[in-house]
Subunit: 215 residues, 4 copies
Amino acid sequence: MDNKRSRRSPQQSRSRDTVEAILVATARVLVKDGFEKLSTNRVARVAGVSVGSLYQYFSSKHELIEELIERRSEAMLQDYEARVCGQELPVEESIRTMVDVILDSRRLDRELASALSASGRSSAAPNHLREVQALLTRSFMAHRHRLQPQNLELAAFLVISSIEAAADSAVAGRPELLEGGALRGELVELLVRYLVRDSANESGVRPAVSQAQSA
Amino acid sequence: MDNKRSRRSPQQSRSRDTVEAILVATARVLVKDGFEKLSTNRVARVAGVSVGSLYQYFSSKHELIEELIERRSEAMLQDYEARVCGQELPVEESIRTMVDVILDSRRLDRELASALSASGRSSAAPNHLREVQALLTRSFMAHRHRLQPQNLELAAFLVISSIEAAADSAVAGRPELLEGGALRGELVELLVRYLVRDSANESGVRPAVSQAQSA
Amino acid sequence: MDNKRSRRSPQQSRSRDTVEAILVATARVLVKDGFEKLSTNRVARVAGVSVGSLYQYFSSKHELIEELIERRSEAMLQDYEARVCGQELPVEESIRTMVDVILDSRRLDRELASALSASGRSSAAPNHLREVQALLTRSFMAHRHRLQPQNLELAAFLVISSIEAAADSAVAGRPELLEGGALRGELVELLVRYLVRDSANESGVRPAVSQAQSA
Amino acid sequence: MDNKRSRRSPQQSRSRDTVEAILVATARVLVKDGFEKLSTNRVARVAGVSVGSLYQYFSSKHELIEELIERRSEAMLQDYEARVCGQELPVEESIRTMVDVILDSRRLDRELASALSASGRSSAAPNHLREVQALLTRSFMAHRHRLQPQNLELAAFLVISSIEAAADSAVAGRPELLEGGALRGELVELLVRYLVRDSANESGVRPAVSQAQSA
DNA sequence: GATGAATGAGTCTTCATTCAT
DNA sequence: GATGAATGAAGACTCATTCAT
C-alpha cells in the first residue's frame, strides 16, 4: 500500500513489451469475462507471462487496473487535443468536441467501459430509476407544447442521468456540493434551459446548436 | 414489490425483525467497509444473526444488494410523490423536485450511495477526467463574457459529469444510443443551452429558473 | 447415535399418515433430485410437514433412509412369498422366482434404486471395467464354438457384474471370503458352468432352463 | 490417459509428488473416514499440502475421485494383462484369471474398495437381503441331493449377489435390459447351470472346473 | 404434538500474493 | 529477471439439527 509505485517503469524494451502484453491481456479478460472474473493469474496466462512477472511490474491487482484506467484517460485527453489542435475553439465547438471524445471513447471500447464501470453494480442499479423516469416522461408529455426537445423519452433519459451523475460525482469527490444550494441551483438551471422552449425567438437566438453532427 | 420470491416470506414477527436487521447491517457494512468488503458472513455477524438466517431470507448475496437498492429507490419514489402530492406540476417544478429528491437522497445516506455507486470503480476513476475538466474550465474562462453560468468551475464539473453519465448509462442500458447522432445532438443541445448566455433577453425570458431554492 | 430407535413407531392414525407422507416424500425427492440433493428440510417440505415433525418420527436423516431401504426389502420379501405361496418349489422355480422378484423390484422403481445404489458413486464407476469387459468379450468370440451363451456381449456383462458383485458383497459383509480359495473356486464353477457348452448332450441334460419366461 | 485435462499437468518434479500425495491422502481418508467424510480440505490437510494445491491439479472433488477410480481400474487391467501375458487363453483360464484379478484387487485394498463401492449406501443396504438369502438357503437344503454346490450357504450368497449385481448394473447403465426377457433368461440359465447337478455324467463332463486354484 | 425460525460448523472453491528454483 | 508451484485466508452457500412459541 505505501510502497506504491515501487515497481513499474520498465526501461528496457523487453520489459516494455511485457508490460504492454499484460495491460492488453487485462483489457481482454475484462471484456471477455467481466470484472468479477478478472484475476492476476488469468491475466498473466492470457498475457503469456508468469504471475511472477506480472508482479514484477505491478505491485498489486489494484495497480494493474489503475494503470489501465489511467491509460484510457490519457488516450481520451490525447484524442481531445488532437481534435482541438491547439486552436482556441468557441464554447459550442469545445462542447461538441468534448461530447464526441467521450462518446467515441465509450463506443470504441464499449465492452471495456461496461466492464469497468458496471463492475460491481448489481443488475438492479441501472433500472432503479426507471419508474421515476417514466413519471417524468409523463409529466413532459403533459407540457409538451412548452418544451423544446422533440424526443421526450430521450430527454427524460438525459435529465435523470445528469442528475444522478452530478449527485454521484459529488458524493465521490466533492461532498460539500451536496450541502449548499449551488449545485442544486445550477442543475435546475441546466435542465430547465434545456427543456423549456424559448418563448420569444423560436429558432433565432441559439442557432448553432441544431446543426447536423458528423457521426 | 412482494413478488420477490425470496427464499421465504416471513410469517412470524421474529422473521421481520431478522430481515430488517440484515438489511440494516448490509448498509452499515457497505458504509463502513465498502462494497468489496461486503460478505454474507460479515453482514450476518454485524446483524447479530447466523449466515443461515441470512440465506433463509435472501437467496444470494446478489439478492441482498438488490433488495437494498430497491428499498432506496422506493424511498426516493415515495419522497417524490409526497412532495408532488398528486398535483400536476409545471415542468420547472417537476425538475426542481426531482433534483431535490435525488440530491437529498444522496445527502442523507452519502456513504451508502458512495459505496453502492462507486462499488467496483477503482480509486483512479473519480479523478480520471480531472485534467479534461481543467482544460474545459480554461476554455470557459476564455469565453466567460458569452457564458451564462457564474461559477465556471462548477459548470465544467456539471458538463463533464453529464456527458460521462449519458455515455455510461447508454453503455449499460441503451447501447444503440451510442451509434446514431441523436444522443450526441441532444447532449450538445443540453449543454450549450445551459452554457451560452441568451443574447436577446438577458434576464427576461427564463426568469423562473434563477429563483431561490428551498433546501 | 446411541438413542436409536428412540423415536418412531406411531400408534395413532394421524401419526401413521405423517410417517407415510415423509417416506413417500423421501422417495420422491430421491427419484427427482438424487441422493446428493436429499435434505431433511426438503423432504419435510415435500411431505407437507415441518422439519420438527420429521424429527418426531425419525431421529436422523440416516434413520430415514434406513427405513426406506428396509421397507423396500420387506416389499421384496412379501412379493417373493406371495409368488411362492407356501409351496415347496423345485430349485429351478425358486431361482426363476427370485430373479423375477429382484428384477421386477428394480424395474418398478428404477429411479429409486438408481438413486439409492449409485448415490455417491462417481460417474466413472459404472464404466471402470468397460475395457476389461471388452477384453473378455473378445476372448469369448475366439472360443464361441465351445460356449453355450448366444449373446456373448450379454454373457460378458453378466460375468463381470457377478464377479464384481461377489467381491463387493464379500468386502462389505464377509471379508473372510476374500482370503480362502472357496469363494474363488465357487465363482469359477458358477461362471464356467454357465459359459461352457455341454460336450455330451447338447440340449438334453438341462432342458428346463431354456423354457420361455413370463415377462 | 494423460488427456485428462486436469487444471495443470505437472511440469516440475515437485508437482508430481504433490499429486501423488494428494491421491494417497484421498485413499487414506476414504479408508479411514468413509466417503461421506471425504472433503477437499481434509484430503489436503492429510496430504500435507494446501487446498489451493489440490485444486491446482484436480479441478473438483469429483475429478479427484474419478482419478482414483481410474487408477484402480488401470491397475487391475495391467494386472490382468501381466497374468495373461499376451497368450490366447482358453475360456476357463480367462475366467479364472479374471476372478483372480478382481478378487485380489479387492483383497489388497479392501478398505478402499469398501469405501468406494458402499460409498453412499446406508448401512442397512448390505443386510437387506439377508432374510431372502436365508429363505433361499433353506430351499436349497430341501433339494440338496439334486444340487452341485457343496456349501449351500455360499451358493446362496453367490446367487443373491449375482442377481442383485445384474439388476443394479442394468439400472445404472443398461436399463433396456430390465424390460425384455433376455437378461432374465440368461440369469436363470447362469444360476441353474451352476446349481443343478449334471444328471448324466456326475463328474465326467466338466472336469476342468473342479481343479485346485492357485491362491 | 406441531411449527418453522434459527443455528453454525462445515463444504467446495477462488485468488492475490510469495518465494524457491 | 523469469517461472510457476504453493499458500491459506476468505467467500458464498448448505443442511442436519434444535428449541422457543
